[in-house]
């Protein structure tokens, strides 16, 4: 099959609570075959709902979605034979060993017993779970569970893979490991739809991105396009007093199209014009005799993206899960 688009979504709406809440509100997107496509957005933006619809778990309220050319509602069985699903909840069977988990999924994908066994061994070894193959999954660490979950999604060699926040809550090393695995999959021709709340993850893995907020697409394009649209780097200055912070903010305000953010002693400035603007900001502060106590440059975070696109921060969002919020903070 050589479809141009592995996934086609047209005007998908999904409501909950008898139509009171729009999880997805008229979302359309095209995922080119053989790429990693990123769905970026905070908790509650509708990413998981989209993945559940595309993986035939949930029916859309209205709209049409096709995966591998098949309608997710009318031809769900065809869709299921061509997809793999893994996610942040790593739904592995805790009472089975790693090997038994994979073999079960193989059998349920209607591979023969031999094929299931061979494929399970192969994946366990590829994902560094050889030593843990015969241990119950309940004894696995968070990173191991994610790898097992991803392996389970790959047992039947699906051409299309859904990864719902695959690295949320993982330590940096496990994160790197998973990224490498995902990159390997794409090299071998798999189409990946990845949801994430991390800009750096989307940047590293996804060729194309859609940014979701409150169930709507608020931006789309390549990672580079989005970045240039968002302002590349953020200059963070810490000042000795709050009045110095306010004064500094005024001094540098014209260097960015985005407003300067002040939080206590810290000011944040998007340096759209690159390093030259950052240097200019420092010169001005120095010329006024203000001594800077802290200085750093950082890549834009999802918060910056949202501030730019919507005027609100991710953390202002309705009800982000407390654990995930702290996980994100710890990471950024």
């Amino acid at each position: 099959m050589s479809l141009e688009f592995a996934i086609e979504v047209d005007h998908i709406v999904r409501t909950f609570n008898n139509g009171d809440f729009y999880a997805l509100n008229d979302v359309s997107l095209r995922v080119p075959t053989g790429q990693v496509f990123g769905l970026l957005g905070p908790n509650g933006s509708g990413k998981t709902t989209m993945v559940r619809i595309l993986s035939t778990i949930l029916k859309p309220t209205s709209g049409v979605a096709r995966v591998a050319g098949f309608d997710v509602v009318g031809q769900s069985d065809q869709v299921r034979r061509r997809i793999g699903l893994a996610g942040q909840y790593a739904t592995v069977d805790e009472n089975l060993t790693g090997f038994e988990n994979l073999r079960m999924i193989g059998r349920l994908n209607h591979l023969s017993t031999n094929e299931s066994t061979t494929r399970s061994r192969e994946l366990l070894s590829n994902f560094g779970l050889d030593d843990a193959a015969n241990r119950l999954a309940k004894t696995y660490s968070g990173g191991m569970r994610r790898r097992l979950d991803l392996a389970a999604a790959l047992v039947a060699r699906p051409p299309i893979l859904f990864l719902d926040e695959p690295t949320t809550g993982l330590d940096p090393q496990s994160r790197q490991d998973l990224w490498a695995i995902i990159e390997g999959l794409v090299e071998s021709g798999t189409t990946v739809l990845l949801t994430t709340q991390y800009l750096d993850e989307a940047d590293r893995l996804a060729q194309q991105l859609v940014v979701l907020d409150h169930g709507k697409v608020i931006a789309e394009g390549t990672s580079a396009q989005l970045k240039s649209q968002l302002g590349a780097t953020v200059l963070v200055l810490t000042l000795p007093t709050t009045s110095d912070a306010v004064r500094t903010a005024e001094l540098v305000a014209d260097l960015s199209e985005q407003p300067v953010r002040i939080e206590g002693l810290i000011i944040e400035l998007n340096v759209d014009g690159g390093p030259a603007n950052a240097a200019e900001a420092l010169r001005r502060v120095d010329a006024q005799g203000i001594s800077v106590t802290g200085l750093s440059l950082r890549e834009p975070s999802l918060d910056d993206v949202f501030l730019t696109l919507t005027g609100h921060k991710v953390s202002d969002d309705a009800a982000p899960d407390a654990n995930q919020r702290s996980a994100r903070t710890a990471h950024s």
Partner: protein
């Protein structure tokens, strides 16, 4: 576009999927110690308790209390086993496993079919173990081997039909603890206010009506009659009728609920 003819609904795959899920559930019984205790050790404790602690005070018309008791314990144990159906399904639902199964090209009903099939297999093992334990404490059934097997099949059938009701509870309950909390108040009256442990004529008159006609007593009377080779009226036929009624009523309930949640 070519049409794939290997439908997930072909009987061969439906059986494959059901057996795969049943296998997984049976492994879980071995792997979760509490489930194993529930399935095997608890009925053994009931045997010991009623045989040696309470049994002396219970007067039965037939030859000895142990021959009265063991068929009753077997019925009680197979019915208690259905609680596992409710708890297991609630747990799978809670952990998102059922959702994962939903994204696989497997037969949709294999989750319920595999769960209830696993419960039958577990009940077969429990019947064998309790029969052996029964013999060890003096159980000497006087019926034929054929009618003993017939009795086992009858209680397996009844428990199987009942387990669809427990599957429904498991799918309605918000979590496994709640599933357990819902099932016990249902299961206690029908197992204890029955002919399982004591003759019904020893109960107060207000309870006797319920205890006589409720299905568990009918099944117990049939099983006890078959195992001990004594007349038991129409209780076998009444038990079969209850089983049929239960599955006709409860299976669609569970299936409909499963379609809603999964």
């Amino acid at each position: 576009m070519s049409v794939d003819t290997t439908s997930a609904w072909s009987p061969r795959w439906a059986i494959n999927d059901t057996v795969t899920i049943a296998r997984r559930n049976l492994l879980a019984i071995i792997r979760i110690p509490t489930a194993l205790v529930f399935a095997i050790i608890q009925p053994i404790m009931f045997v010991v308790l009623f045989r040696y602690v309470f049994g002396g005070a219970i007067k039965v018309a037939t030859s000895g209390y142990v021959n009265y008791l063991i068929p009753g314990i077997l019925v009680q144990t197979t019915i208690f086993g259905a609680v596992g159906t409710a708890i297991g399904l609630a747990e799978d639902l809670q952990r998102g496993l059922i959702e994962r199964f939903r994204a696989l090209p497997m037969a949709r009903m294999a989750v319920l079919g595999g769960r209830t099939l696993a419960d039958v297999v577990r009940n077969v093992l429990v019947i064998i173990v309790i029969t052996i334990v029964g013999f060890a404490v003096g159980f000497r059934p006087t019926g034929s081997v054929v009618s003993y097997v017939g009795a086992a099949l009858l209680m397996l059938l009844f428990a199987y039909c009942l387990s669809w009701g427990f599957a429904f509870i498991g799918l309605v309950a918000p979590n496994s603890e709640a599933a357990q909390a819902i099932t016990f108040p249902l299961i206690f009256p029908i197992t204890f206010a029955s002919s399982i442990f004591v003759p019904i004529d020893s109960m107060p008159s207000w309870l006797r009506g319920f205890a006589t006609y409720q299905p568990v007593s009918q099944v117990t009377n049939a099983v006890r009659g078959l195992m001990n080779g004594v007349p038991h009226g129409a209780s076998t036929w009444i038990s079969l009728a209850w089983s049929l009624g239960a599955i006709v009523m409860l299976a669609p309930l569970a299936v409909r609920r499963y379609r809603q949640v999964a």
